[in-house]
Amino acid sequence: VSPLPDLTPEQLDAFGAELDGLRARVLADLGKRDVQYLREVIATQRRLEVAGRGLLFVGAVPPAWLAGVTALSLAKILDNMEIGHNVMHGQYDWTRDPALQSSTFEWDTACPADQWRHSHNVRHHTDTNVLGKDRDIGYGILRMDESQRWTPVALGNPLFAVLLALLFEYGVALHDLELERVVTGRQSKEVAVERGRGVLAKVRHQVVKDYVVWPMLSGPGALFTLAGNATANVARNLWSFTIIFCGHFPEGVRTFTEEEVAGESRGGWYLRQLLGSANIDGGSLFHVLSGNLSHQIEHHLFPDLPAHRYPEIAPEVRAICERYGLPYNTGSLRRQFGSVVKRICRLALPNGPVREGEAVRIPAPRSAAA
């Protein structure tokens, strides 16, 4: 395992204080602009959903079907990423709008909101990239880190990754059941069964909506609607898989052992979030469709700041990192995703002899101006 960047505890505290200050400044500035932005996104999502479902009524006409699927896919992507993920992080709790409260929001995906809040907000965001604790490392299915033991099962890594991508919403839904831990006896069966019931109830809603009610309402075009809805669900799955895997698994992103993070300070937590995340470069539409998770670094540093603020504060975060000689991992979607695919394939095989220099996965700090 590569060494942590060489910061003294004092430097680490100063680094944390700078980021705390940045967070406080954004918090103090929250207001109408942020709510207006999110309401616009929500209105767009609703319009896309209405347009998509409307077009699928005449889905027998190929261009209408294609346009309908596109609109519905975008609606589901906006719902899950820029709206659902971010609202459930509590980014808009301060608005006191009952429709935007993290504790009650529900989204259009198979995973029940309360379970996702546990597996994501509690486990993943607290124990980010800590081996054995952050179950987002491979979702209990994939081998995503050299330190995860190789077994022949790992040979299936690329195949499993494709399946996980296609069925991502179900992967996320089953995530909090911790089935692999039930097998090893570290998770109680009762808890898993209870959570499983929650997932089933949620899946039933989605199935009834996308595969019964809307096809039924389409009358003779039922099959076109059914196929369109299924395609939109899969398109959303592929997109969210891509964005999320690019956030933590490109080369250069670091994992941590429990010993390394024991007793870590606020600055240490910030440092781990920084080293454990990667950004994706892109235009503003790309950022919105990614739920601004293209700014995974800013998101992990400040998970409860409204995500549309991440692009605004990114230059400042980058400048702070540069001052402390810390890496800031960013690259194009093609580069980051290519790197994720390479890792999935490479880790299908045993580690093999580690060559000198290869184990050190922290890249040299890139110039923030680059």
Partner: protein, 367 residues
């Protein structure tokens, strides 16, 4: 749209509609066409805002079809968005209970009143606000007594004005005395309208008392003599009084002194509840409210989650370091400082993260 409103609302409440609009609900889509529309919620469109006096706003609202109508004297909770944050406050309805498609509110914009200031300065016709169903038992009885005294001070005029307007619409032929106390002549709310209402009807009269000028019928604060001057017989009339607590205390005393019985004297008080923040450096009290009896502990300066647990409570929580928001709870009253010095003020809709929230003075958290 009006013809279709009712059937649309009925269709929107069906299980089929709920299944089709899951998980966001029918309202999420209805709002695309009409922001005031809802299958179940009461929303209202602002039709006018006028400034009767130097520090008040009188707002006329057109509620959607979910408004059940109010009884004269009841209040509603109005929710508006101020700087992106939803703020809810309670106001008495001033309009007649017979106007079932209209809700009029008058708010006094004091220095700290975020909502009333918003109503006065920024609300415009066409804005959409949220309303609660009407509530409160400060209402005209269905069996009208033969003599009614309507007493108010300042913006406390609204519920008794609703009563006066309702009595007028109903053609009530009993005896009505309307006594209003204001700071000065220019502060008198609804003056011309009340004057007109009482002028038309036999046995109806009005008395205005102003504290700082001579524009009223009398000058000063409430005095028992005002009851007599208005021709009120406390031994026979039923009184409805609304105003700040000190006003109500003196009216109640005057009523009793003049032989009025307490069961014919109804009051509605308004005004801020005492601030829970304690001045000085003394340790405050942290109150954990919930389903059972509230638990009070002396603040020891630690995060609220730790203090709740020390008190034997077990609030839900997650990361315990301010990240996951599993321990977000309503902050009923008081002021809490979260990490990084971010201050949260208590009140309706206000929430706090227990694991990083430290009390500043007395606070009350709803667990």
């Amino acid at each position: 749209m009006h013809l279709l409103e009712r059937p649309l609302r009925r269709a929107a409440r069906t299980r089929l509609a709920a299944a089709a609009a899951w998980p966001h609900g029918v309202d999420a889509f209805g709002a695309l066409l009409d922001p005031a529309w809802s299958a179940t919620q009461i929303r209202a469109t602002v039709t006018s805002v006028r400034r009767q006096t130097a520090d008040t706003a009188t707002v006329v609202l057109r509620p959607n079809g979910n408004w059940p109508g109010h009884r004269a004297g009841q209040h509603v909770v109005l929710t508006v968005e101020v700087d992106g944050v939803r703020q809810a406050r309670c106001f008495s309805v001033a309009s007649s209970a017979r106007d079932r498609h209209l809700v009029e509110l008058t708010a006094k914009a004091g220095p700290g009143s975020v909502v009333a200031r918003h109503l006065r300065q920024r609300l415009v016709a066409g804005d959409v606000v949220d309303l609660s169903p009407p509530a409160g038992d400060f209402v005209l009885p269905d069996r009208r007594p033969p003599a009614i005294a309507l007493l108010s001070a300042g913006s406390g005029i609204t519920p008794v004005l609703s009563m006066l307007r309702t009595l007028a619409d109903d053609g009530y032929d009993g005896d009505v005395a309307f006594v209003h106390h204001a700071r000065s002549g220019p502060d008198v709310l609804y003056g011309p309208e009340v004057e007109r209402l009482v002028a038309d009807r036999a046995g109806w009269r009005r008395l205005v008392v102003t504290e700082h000028d001579r524009t009223g019928d009398h000058r000063g604060r409430f005095a028992p003599a005002h009851l007599e001057a208005a021709g009120i017989d406390p031994a026979g009339a039923v009184a409805f009084a609304c105003g700040p607590p000190p006003y109500l205390e003196s009216v109640a005393a005057g009523w009793a002194a003049a032989g009025g019985s307490a069961d014919r004297f109804r009051t509605e008080s308004y005004g801020l509840s005492p601030s829970p923040t304690r001045a000085g450096g003394a340790a405050g009290t942290v109150r954990f409210a919930g389903r059972g009896a509230p638990i009070d502990v002396t603040d020891d300066g630690r995060p609220l989650l730790l203090q709740a647990e020390a008190a034997g409570l077990a609030p839900a929580h997650g990361c315990r370091r301010g990240i996951c928001r599993s321990c977000v709870r309503p902050l009923v009253a008081g002021s809490v400082v979260e990490e990084g010095g971010v201050r949260v003020a208590g009140g309706p809709g206000s929430t706090v993260r227990l694991c990083v929230g430290v009390a500043d003075g007395d606070v009350e958290v709803d667990l």
